[in-house]
């Protein structure tokens, strides 16, 4: 199932399929197509989402997170 990164639920894991904004800005932070990531925190009141990428936790603003399309591959408890 495809979702916007923004829509991943807490603990859900996905693989990045498409980046609809500056690919460079996300790539240099380690987010690129085919990379697996996991949603670890969603901050309330339009705060950033935090995803886990390997050993890195990366906070991403909501607008940006809406531009990243992922394939959902599972969910951790």
């Amino acid at each position: 199932m495809q979702k916007k990164l923004l829509e991943l639920e807490f603990g859900e894991r996905g693989v990045v399929r498409e980046i609809r904004t500056s690919v460079h800005d996300l790539n240099c932070m380690g987010i690129r197509v085919d990379r697996e990531l996991k949603m670890v925190t969603k901050q309330p009141i339009k705060g950033p989402v935090v995803v886990l990428l390997g050993e890195m936790q990366i906070a991403i603003g909501l607008d940006l997170a809406a531009q990243i399309i992922v394939d959902v591959i599972g969910k951790d408890a």
Partner: protein, 198 residues
């Protein structure tokens, strides 16, 4: 003692924030560091001296950056420092647990045609997390010296300092060919990692 007939060489330490650049810098330069403001900016940077093999180096701890397409003032300064020191050696510092992200900035720096050397820092953390990094293979692929370090314990610092003089200009076309297996591995002789420094 430095050989006063040799020209001082500038070394720019470049890498993502929090990879241990400053810790490595402190290990290499000891107590003579100086903090300055980069001309026309509010961004501070630290510089210090290293004498190794009778050669004097001015080491500059460049503000951490994710890329050479700047997105804030500190990144802007990093880019300017590289542009303002075309003859410098760039020491690219990786966090051994986040190699892929380090490679992004590394390749951007290598594209500039500067002399490069790579330090893969935080080897202790990588070891603890059961992440292994094949620095010899990385050196073969990149064609520049790659040294494993742990800044907090001092491991690898000596070798890192010694390898600065072997810094190489990376050849991106060759890197791609090596990755595609189009260039066979050079036979390594006597522990040589094939960085081409000799």
């Amino acid at each position: 003692m430095a050989d006063s007939t040799k020209k001082k060489i500038t070394v720019l330490m470049v890498g993502n924030p929090n990879v241990g650049k400053s810790a490595l810098f402190n290990r290499m330069t000891g107590a003579n560091a100086m903090v300055s403001n980069y001309p026309g900016t509010t961004v501070d940077f630290t510089s210090g001296t290293l004498i190794e093999g009778r050669q004097e180096y001015e080491i500059i701890d460049v503000p951490g950056t994710y890329s050479l397409e700047p997105r804030d003032a500190a990144e802007e300064v990093a880019v300017r420092m590289i542009r303002d020191h075309p003859d410098a050696v760039v020491m690219i510092v990786f966090d051994a647990t986040k190699i892929d992200r380090g490679l992004y900035i590394a390749l951007e720096v290598m594209e500039q045609g500067m002399l490069c050397i790579v330090a893969v820092n935080m080897m202790d953390t990588a070891h603890d997390k059961k992440i292994s990094v094949d620095t010899a293979d990385l050196q073969k692929v990149l064609g520049v010296p790659v040294v494993a370090t742990t800044a907090t314990s001092g491991e690898g610092i000596r070798e890192l300092a010694e390898q600065i003089r072997k810094a190489q200009v990376a050849d991106l076309d060759k890197i791609i060919k090596r990755l595609n297996g189009e260039i066979p591995d050079k036979k390594s002789v006597g522990g040589c990692g094939g960085c081409g420094g000799c």
